[in-house]
């Protein structure tokens, strides 16, 4: 009898039926496990292949469901070939498939056949953030009057609490425009260049993706990190001379980036 602690660590042992069954599931070069057979002396290769196929295809489908714009850009065959490699290299650790694909954007960035699309990984990052915003805990966004009620002399010290759905994805490419065009089936040439920062919020049930104005990402990231409004605004101005404080405050309230404001000491 093993002590309780080491039993907890025991995943059924190296000799268990599960240990024998899994190595070939995601490795096409691995032979059908000797532990399984067909009935009445039949072979088990095609039978076992059903499981291989179920595992691989269902996980590719899970990635396709999370990254539809990415698939729209690459085409289905390209996407599924890329996803198959990722599924084999990095299968999920959680039974919650909406958590799967966190490593996929980094994988895309290094995927040699996607090098001609350097913005593809950032589109995937927006899609991954979109799903996180979708499943995040529900919360009411900060009502506009709360910030308005803070006396002007205290506003500089105000500290805000981020809404649980809020996500920011920064890109040196026009990733937001490309994301939006490929999620909404916009046809025709995309006329965009230069960097774009995405803001994702879910003030109600719907996830909303916006393109942030110059300095906006730095401003919000500082606020989300808990820095006072004046500090965040200074950082945003340092990032971009075009930073427009009133417009950014109005925009963040309207988008529902925050849930609470503390007017400081």
């Amino acid at each position: 009898m093993l002590p309780a602690e080491s039993r907890e660590q025991d995943f059924g042992g190296q000799s268990s039926y599960a240990a024998a069954f899994v190595p070939a599931l995601l490795d096409p070069d691995c032979a059908t496990p000797a532990a399984v057979a067909g009935p009445n002396g039949k072979a088990a290769s095609k039978r076992y292949n059903i499981y291989r196929n179920n595992v691989t295809v269902s996980l590719i489908n899970a990635l396709a469901a999370t990254f539809p714009a990415t698939q729209c850009i690459t085409g289905v065959d390209f996407f599924r070939a890329m996803a198959r490699l990722h599924v084999r290299a990095t299968p999920p650790k959680s039974p919650l498939l909406f958590e799967y694909g966190r490593d996929f954007p980094d994988f895309i960035e290094l995927y040699e056949h996607a090098r001609s699309m350097p913005w593809l990984a950032d589109v995937a990052r927006i899609e991954r953030a979109w799903l996180d915003a979708y499943h995040s805990v529900d919360a009411k966004p900060l009502p506009p009057e709360v910030l308005a009620s803070i006396p002007p002399e205290r506003l500089a010290d105000a500290v805000l609490t981020a809404h649980p759905a809020t996500r920011i994805v920064r890109s040196p490419f026009p990733a937001v425009t490309i994301f939006a065009a490929n999620r909404n089936d916009v046809t025709g040439r995309i006329e965009a260049n230069g960097p774009e920062d995405a803001l994702l919020t879910r003030p109600g049930l719907e996830v909303i993706v916006r393109r942030l104005p110059p300095g906006g990402a730095v401003f919000l990231l500082r606020l989300i990190a808990g820095e006072p409004l004046a500090v965040a605004a200074a950082a945003a101005l340092a990032d971009s001379a075009e930073f427009d404080l009133p417009a950014n405050i109005a925009g963040m309230i309207e988008a529902g980036v925050f849930t609470a404001a503390d007017q400081g000491a």
């Binding site: 039993r7 907890e8 025991d10 995943f11 059924g12 042992g13 268990s16 039926y17 599960a18 240990a19 069954f21 899994v22 599931l25 532990a35 399984v36 057979a37 067909g38 009935p39 009445n40 039949k42 072979a43 088990a44 290769s45 095609k46 039978r47 076992y48 059903i50 499981y51 179920n54 595992v55 269902s58 996980l59 899970a62 299968p91 999920p92 650790k93 959680s94 039974p95 919650l96 498939l97 909406f98 979708y134 499943h135 995040s136 805990v137 529900d138 919360a139 649980p164 759905a165 879910r202 049930l205």
Partner: protein, 308 residues
Amino acid sequence: MSELATLKASRAPAVSRFPAHPIEGLAGTSFKHQHLPAILAEGKQDGFFEVHAENYMGAGGPPHDALTHIRRDFPLSLHGVCMSIGGPQPLDKVHLDRFKALVRRYEPALVSEHLAWSTHETTFFNDLLPLPYTQATIMQVADHIDEVQEAIGRPILLENPSTYVVFPESTLSETDFIRELVRRTGCGLLLDVNNVFVSATNHGYSALAYLDDFPLWQVGEIHLAGHAAQADDEGELLLIDSHDGPVADAVWKLFEIVIGQCGPIPTLVEWDSDIPDWPVLKAEAAAAQAILDRHAHRFMPEKAYAAS
């Protein structure tokens, strides 16, 4: 059924957030998000919905909003897909806690899981994988069922699998294995008639003989679904439990035989891929309901007695 009924009665929460919505004698369908507007537009109707528990384990957002609507208006069945009850390793405690929280939150009429496994070590394979049927695996699966039932404070319905391979190390038939699990854990059963047909075809035994040997008195829910056909290594028919089409005629016949024998058991039509528009899925459920209704009168006295 009487044992299950007793266990059911003991699990009602003190204060319920939702109406009771009895599920007895009803047919239902898988709940798919895209059908919600059509379902709500139809207003009050008979039938129930089943959801895969894992899809509602996020913190918030549209999934919980949709499920709250469904649970308010219809009986709900919560179907776990990923507990890995049939695996050799300990259950994932975090996952079990999530499952327990969902049962508490939505107070489903039925709660079920699979005789299968899907996680090994730390990898989740997203498929219902098979296990050998031995004295050793009975003990381990029974322990897992006990653990789930203890956590959620009510019995689960355990679903018979569809399988494509056998384990030469198995020493028990699937029906003997399941019967022993029922005896040890007091769990109920979810009889998937399509799985019976698929496995019987794949392993060359009679589906009727399987049903004859299945502990039907312990069945609290039935599943029906479509399957697809391939060939095995010998070029003979191999059926895949694909849930991507209408229920096969042979499965309807087996279903009617079971209902003729057991009376109207809550019956779900599963459709998880290539999902059709709501009216198509609804029509499949209506076909199941017609069979339930056809046999209901013969079992009415018993039902009336149970209700009084």
